[in-house]
């Protein structure tokens, strides 16, 4: 199903919102790479939910709003967006940097949030186990970190990127560097505040994640003890690509259980 796309103007920022399906509201917050394509994962979620997939301001080729300096700014922007759209009972699914964003939003206000799913999330740091330096790694190194399946890695590396894709990837790389260059993909203060998250939380990881190691799944539980953890073998940093059915089922069951 092709999503409905709408450009929203919120607080001087332009935001592309993709929307598909009906049911409980699920908001997908994308990671550092942005949204390069409408994924099968989105199709499957939109079978059961009112799925919203925005480009964060400054991603997807949108201009950088003058107020955007860090993740806190982005978190407050989303709280404004929820107010503007009168969104309630939101089930947030945050991937990687989007998981970090979900946490930054929730520590500020959970009033409109019903549940949070963190997939291969960044945001905190285990000393000695840093998030991979995606800003310096070659495309080959990145693919090996992101995916577990050698066939998928080979296929991705064999694909020729169009000039538009390269432009988009470059823009998203710059947008994520603005927010996460240093400290790299974490907020040193976040773990002090994660106890404020009281809505249901589930954590999903790929056991072979080479970007953020699966040790982080347990680390997050230290700060959010009520979170449930699911780790898929044979999956890397994007379990919704390599374990599609399992990820859809895990997310959908959790959302239904907590709706």
């Amino acid at each position: 199903m092709k999503p409905n796309e709408e450009l929203l103007q919120v607080r001087g920022g332009t935001l592309l919102m993709r929307r598909a399906g009906s049911g409980p509201t699920v908001l997908f917050l994308h990671g550092a790479n942005g949204i390069l394509a409408w994924l099968p994962f989105f199709d499957r979620l939109s079978d059961r939910f009112d799925l919203r997939v925005p480009d964060h301001p400054s991603f997807g080729g949108s201009p950088t709003p003058p107020w955007l300096d860090d993740m806190a700014d982005l978190a407050y922007f989303y709280l404004d967006l929820f107010d503007e759209l009168k969104l309630d009972d939101i089930h947030i699914v945050g991937h990687s940097m989007g998981g970090w964003l979900a946490q930054e939003i929730a520590i500020r206000s959970q009033a409109r949030i019903k549940s949070i799913t963190l997939i291969a999330s960044v945001g905190i740091r285990i000393k000695g186990d840093p998030v991979a330096n995606l800003f310096v790694m070659t495309p080959e190194q990145i693919m090996h970190a992101v995916y577990a399946d050698p066939k998928l890695i080979a296929a991705e590396l064999a694909r020729t990127l169009t000039p538009d894709e390269i432009t988009l990837i470059t823009a998203n790389r710059t947008a994520s560097a603005r927010l996460a260059w240093s400290p790299r993909f974490f907020n040193p203060k976040l773990s002090k505040w994660l106890h404020r998250i009281t809505v249901p939380v589930q954590i999903i990881w790929g056991a072979q994640d080479g970007v953020v190691s699966a040790a982080y799944a347990q680390e997050f539980r230290k700060f959010i003890p009520h979170a449930s953890v699911t780790v898929f073998p044979d999956a890397g940093h994007a379990p919704f690509a390599e374990r599609l059915d399992d990820t859809v089922k895990t997310v959908a069951d959790f959302v239904m259980r907590n709706n």
Binding site: T138, A171, W181, S182
Partner: protein, 397 residues
Amino acid sequence: MKVTMFHLMPYPRLSDEVIAAHDSYWVTMPNTYYDPKVGHVAYNQYLDQLELCDELGFDGVAVNEHHQTPYGMMPSPIVTASALARRTRNCKIAILGSAFCLREHPLTLAEEHAMIDNITGGRLITGFVRGVGAEYTVFGVNPVLSQERHYEAHDLVMQAWTRPGPFAFEGKHYHVEYVNVWPRPYQQPHPPIWCPSQGSNETIEWAAHPDRKYLYLQNFNPFSAALKYLNYYREIAQGRYGYAATSAQLGFGAPVYVADTDEQAMNEAREPIEFLFNKGFKMPGGMFFPPGYSSPSSLRQMAAAKSSIMAARKTVEQLAEQRVIIVGSPDTVIRQLRDCHRQLGFSNYVAMLQFGSMSHEMAVRNIRRFAKDVMPALQALGDKDYQGFEMPKVAAH
């Protein structure tokens, strides 16, 4: 034309095996390969070379800043410039440059530059640079904010040098409650400012602004790139700012090697220069061009210019052909540099006379030969030898 000897102070070469075993010559090349005894000798030989240039009548000597790499052993050009301050008598000392925006507190550099200017009685030239991309991986400074921080650090330093203190500087990246630098610079209102660059439209547009009119120095690029960028300076000055830029605002830099004959010069320069260009820039692309370091259009241009010197293995012949370097007999070198000046019109030539793995003996020979047989002809060049600038039909503005 003024002639300045520029030094990178490279670590005397690492073996090919070591370099091949690591994916970068920058940032992550393990410092266990650094031998302090080798470093001690190299530092002193390099300083000897620069002091010799002062004795031989060079107009200036120049040092620069790079971090965590054998490519250049000057994480602080302040240290080398200070060492030169009392051991040279006549030449300018150019710091090309200091990466003010890499610092959390650029005022410390403003103080140090002012000290050197005072000690030397006004022989300092201050270069404002942002550092190459790899520096942002070293310091963790956000490359997306590099340009902003660069401009703001510049404003802070210039105000510290020219505005009566104490005053508060209230910027976005730098907030200083008490700006009141002792000493003030010896040169009034401030030392000459140079902007060495790999070729960036933003840097040129900024340097050419009527409030600044800073010298823009194009370094380490094929001559065709130098031609494009130096002409862009004149174009922007005239088209956007409405004044004619002079050669005093432009500089050209290139490694140079002189010997009796062209053939001998090529053969002698081959090993050290091919080492520099084929090994010295080895690093992941993402490290060289970190996200947001330049605007997308500048990044594309820089990448194109750099890819021509970084992509494939380069030979001394190719580098000389593109005039990334100037190599030959005294006659050839004079002819080529005269031609560069005829087309570009610059007031300062920055000559790198030691490069890559070149030994001290060879560097001294090159310096002496260049000073005796080439430099006087260059120092005699002036505006009369420049073909002049013609505004293109479709000009930048």
